[in-house]
Subunit: 255 residues, 2 copies
């Protein structure tokens, strides 16, 4: 069993190291991750600039490859160039901070898992619901249990799992919920500031969501102290709308 | 009718100017777009760095705001900060090059339209199937006709349109197809090169798709000289998998 670990907080982040520690004894673990933090890069890839790859040692032991690009770049180059053979699973994380609701679209952590499932590799993204200095061990332990289950049962083709874990000891976690991604908008707000040379700049200072999420969503489950698992995919088609449009083509199709 | 134009090729690109010319006489048109090219940035937003905004004049006429960020940043800051009131529609493009299949996930052009629909604003992304020096006028003319139709009939909430136009004169275009996003993987390939200081670097050199797309997809329609319209949304949940998982929770839920 060959596992590829990646993330968007960078190869030196604590979350990916917690995964490495949890998996290294039972699996063949490879680490290919961005050399620096890549948060909120969404599903970006590098086309107009080259990628550099550095071997990274940690505690004197070979640890992984640092890539001068995005999480999606890291998965692509790991699978196509750096690993001798394709991994059996890709795990992205553990992200410092949750990736739920609309934020899933901005998440480099999630896009790495999505990129893996585009390439036909089962994948999960794991995020921890804390921006402080959390203990990553419970989330890593849960990830390992989940991976064992997935290995046995397989994921449907093209589907990866977006997993969000409360920042609590395992015994305080209220359970596991299978959820949908909430679509409630973020509360956007830009702070207008003036720099030392008296020029205006803006800084995204939005926080939280515009209204409470539905109970069957990832945001809600996490707010209740539950682990949220959302099956996601990379087909953005809105099929219900497509069927509606096809019933009245003249409305949507200019002559 | 207030229209916001944006793109990922940058505010000085030809495609957005073609849209401006097509819409400016009949609509109140605002332009807020990245100051530089932002291709393949996906749905990135800027959180860790501030945004600068510059007024841009073109041909002596006020033309728009250039934002030091991504397409999604541009839409967010336009709606929340720069425009006096929310636009009735957001049009992103006209992109130099198609945005079909898996590439939709990497597309800054599409993510700007998606960001608008997250904010509750009807939106379309328009891309032209050419990387050469195409004539943007047919695509701009089509976009204008399509916008007139959408104004009358409305789009379903949370749905935006991903429109791809062949680089042909309007009378040579074979028709308009309502399509789904193809999910066929790209043919990835990294070129390994050596720089003048003898260090290795890699460059994504992939081209094309791994196998032929299905006939009901965006890629196929475009390859047949048709305009492709795909309704897309920002909910990544795979509902069929979610229902399956809920039937056998013990399989996916570690104890």
């Amino acid at each position: 069993m060959r596992i590829l670990l990646t993330n968007d907080d960078g190869i030196f982040a604590r979350g990916i190291y917690a995964l490495y520690q949890a998996f290294k004894d039972d699996y063949e673990v490879h680490v290919v991750a961005p050399e620096s933090e890549q948060s909120a890069v969404g599903h970006a890839i590098s086309l107009s600039c080259p990628l550099r790859v550095k071997e990274v040692y940690r505690n004197g032991t070979f640890y992984g490859y640092a890539v001068s690009g995005t999480p999606a770049d890291s998965v692509k180059i790991a699978v196509n160039e750096l690993l001798k053979s394709s991994p059996d699973m890709v795990i992205s994380g553990i992200n410092l901070g949750p990736n739920v609701g609309i934020n899933v679209l901005y998440s480099g952590t999630v896009s790495a898992a999505t990129e893996a499932s585009i390439l036909g590799i089962p994948a999960l993204a794991v995020s921890l619901d804390s921006y402080e200095k959390p203990d990553f061990t419970p989330a890593a332990t849960f990830a390992k249990k989940l991976v064992k289950k997935i290995m046995k049962t397989k994921l449907p083709a093209g589907v990866c799992l977006n997993v969000n874990v409360p920042a609590l000891p395992l015994h305080e976690i209220k359970g596991v919920a299978l959820t949908r991604q909430a679509t409630v908008p973020l509360r956007d707000r830009f702070e207008k500031r003036v720099d030392p040379r008296m020029h205006v700049y803006y800084w995204e200072a939005g926080d939280g969501f515009l209204y409470p999420p539905d109970p069957d969503t990832d945001i809600y489950a996490l707010s209740q102290g539950m682990i949220s698992i959302t099956p996601i995919h990379h087909d953005l088609t809105h099929y219900a709308a497509l069927e509606e449009f096809k019933k009245m083509p003249s409305i949507y199709l200019p002559e």
